[in-house]
Symmetry: C2
Subunit: 360 residues, 2 copies
């Protein structure tokens, strides 16, 4: 299936996977957080006929949406179209999307924490693995497929707070008021996400990304005690899974030194932290992914190229850079700007000599 | 009026003002962002009878609300009850509060930028200065009064976006799409806020705080080009104002090195950056203000004391620490927790020997 990208004498694996492992690449690979989504007319058309949850639970449709951006743009990876709440629904958590996830009975008691069952992915969310198999069999250009899950603390925020909010006050006050119960809930979520991610890899996902969307809600001490401890448990449960692991801590600039201690291959960096600073803090053993400001896609074409140049320059010549936005793409983004971005990242990185290492 | 705190042989000025100037203090002073507000039953009672905008525009009532928390707690400073949009309303910007400010005609064109008039505080918002005079004449224990304004970029976000949002996408894309127009609008806002803050000091405000609530929306390059440049213009306009200036960059951890270059006396630090890190980055010429996580007020009393101890320890023994939360107090906070906090900060800082410098 990946024959096109791994013919003998050419590069042994797709640029995205090579970059995750800090191997030389022919060009800087690029994919885009939320690349399958509302900024694409073909997504909006499908979505006008099928509701969001149905889309994530129907393998044909989830695979179709996953592949839509790969048909339009020369992206170097696909990411499974799904939702971070999907495995929690599989564990019996009842929720609506309005459009953010709203949990009907927020988890606020030890009894509720105890009642949360183990996740058995093949039993509880089989459609996710089926979607992965469909993408692997059909994805354009044999592009590698990324599976994903929410990090335990991020899921905790939704579960405890009940509905997304700027501050997630109820979740953060629960941490302070009930630290022991919080740790128990986080442990359960950590184990569930390890099982969920492992099942995705077994079904064919070639890299696994863990989204810590709400890292920025916590000061460093609370991040360490709650968020980092829990995601370390998830990562420990994936030790022998055999595919690159990516951890993205949104708004995580003040905890990057902690991310450095996490046993993952790639750290996703938001747009607030220059990649040069991230490289310095993370050390030479991690690749970086990011981090163009999603707002930069609204620049004039020549300005966009300048913004891309800066990101490439800050990433530096060392291997191990996956280009991405620093946060999910906005729904009012012009798809033509995305096309310009993808082509320019490839072109500029080749011109800057990224491929030279690969030929050496 | 400040006789109680400045008797001969005692300290020459209130602890809050001394700390702002990095002078020795008898105890670590404390005040709380949004201390006049919805977590107080006496505020909610008044608010049930008078609408928010009316409250900010009626000097008797604004002064009353400003002083409410000073009657309950041994706070070391008062902050004027007002809204960061008040001066913009004075400049003719039409808006509603739902409850966040919603601008009826978001500013998106050069014509709108050009049409924005100069702010003449005594003509356009005289009630603000009258409120300040009333507080100065009546404030409990002669506590110093802080005046404030929004930083130019933060006001820009509201003006361009029209309504508050998590991402302020329309404002951020405007920066990238129209950098020159953005700079012009920011310059106008910078000059207006300099005039506004100067008028507050002339009316009796004893310190001035500039709120960069949305610092965290920008990467370091855009922060420097737009937000920092504009607030430097405001600060330059206040050079001879004679009262301490405080700049608070919420979620500003990745731009603290830039804050270090701003000619203000105090940097407000959110809860994500330990004060020890802030001190190191800012150097010895700035005091720090902060930075307990607002969520920590939901801890058990003994845990709250431990969290306070950590903040005091991270602030260190050097002069120049004003205790505060790292962000505004939440409306569901128990006022009794605030009482415990204020008393404990005084008690613990005296025990830790903060006052020794004052007596030396």
């Amino acid at each position: 299936m990946v024959a096109q990208l791994s013919t003998p004498g050419s590069h042994p694996e797709p640029a995205f996977l090579a970059a995750c492992r800090r191997q030389p690449v022919p060009h800087t690979p690029i994919w885009i957080m939320r690349q399958a989504g509302r900024y694409l007319p073909e997504y909006r058309e499908l979505r006008s006929k099928v509701d969001f949850v149905q889309l994530t639970r129907t393998p044909d449709l989830a695979a179709e949406v996953t592949m839509q951006p790969l048909r339009r743009f020369e992206l170097d990876a696909a990411i499974l179209f799904s939702d971070i709440m999907t495995p929690l629904q599989g564990m019996g958590v009842s929720l609506d999307f309005e459009p953010g996830p709203v949990v009907k009975d927020p988890v606020r008691s030890d009894a509720q924490i105890d009642a949360l069952p183990e996740l058995v992915p093949q039993r509880d969310v089989p459609f996710v693995m089926e979607s992965i198999r469909l993408v692997r069999a059909n994805v354009p250009r044999g592009a590698p497929l990324i599976g994903f899950a929410g990090a335990p603390f991020t899921l905790f925020c939704y579960l405890v707070c009940g509905r997304p909010s700027k501050e997630f006050g109820a979740a953060r006050s629960f941490l302070y008021a009930h630290p022991g119960s919080s740790e128990r809930l986080l442990d359960k979520l950590a184990d569930a996400m390890a099982a969920y991610l492992r099942a995705q890899a077994e079904a064919g996902a070639q890299a696994l990304m863990i989204f810590e969307s709400w890292a920025g809600l916590l000061g460093p001490r609370e991040f360490q005690r709650f968020a980092l401890r829990a995601v370390k448990r998830t990562v420990a449960g994936l030790k022998d899974v055999g595919v690159p692991l990516i951890y993205y801590a949104n708004n995580g600039g003040s905890v990057l030194d902690q991310v450095a201690t996490l046993d993952v291959d790639v750290a996703g960096i938001d747009w607030r932290t220059p990649l040069s600073v991230a490289r310095r803090t993370l050390g030479p053993d991690k690749a970086v992914q990011g981090n163009l400001d999603p707002a930069a896609l609204f620049s004039a074409p020549e300005d966009l190229r300048r913004h891309v140049d800066i990101v490439l320059e800050e990433a530096g010549p060392a291997p191990g850079h996956v280009f991405n936005l620093g946060h999910g793409i906005w729904q009012d983004t012009d798809p033509d700007a995305v096309a310009r971005l993808v082509d320019y990242v490839h072109e500029a990185s080749i011109r800057a000599g990224v491929g030279k290492g690969a030929r050496a």
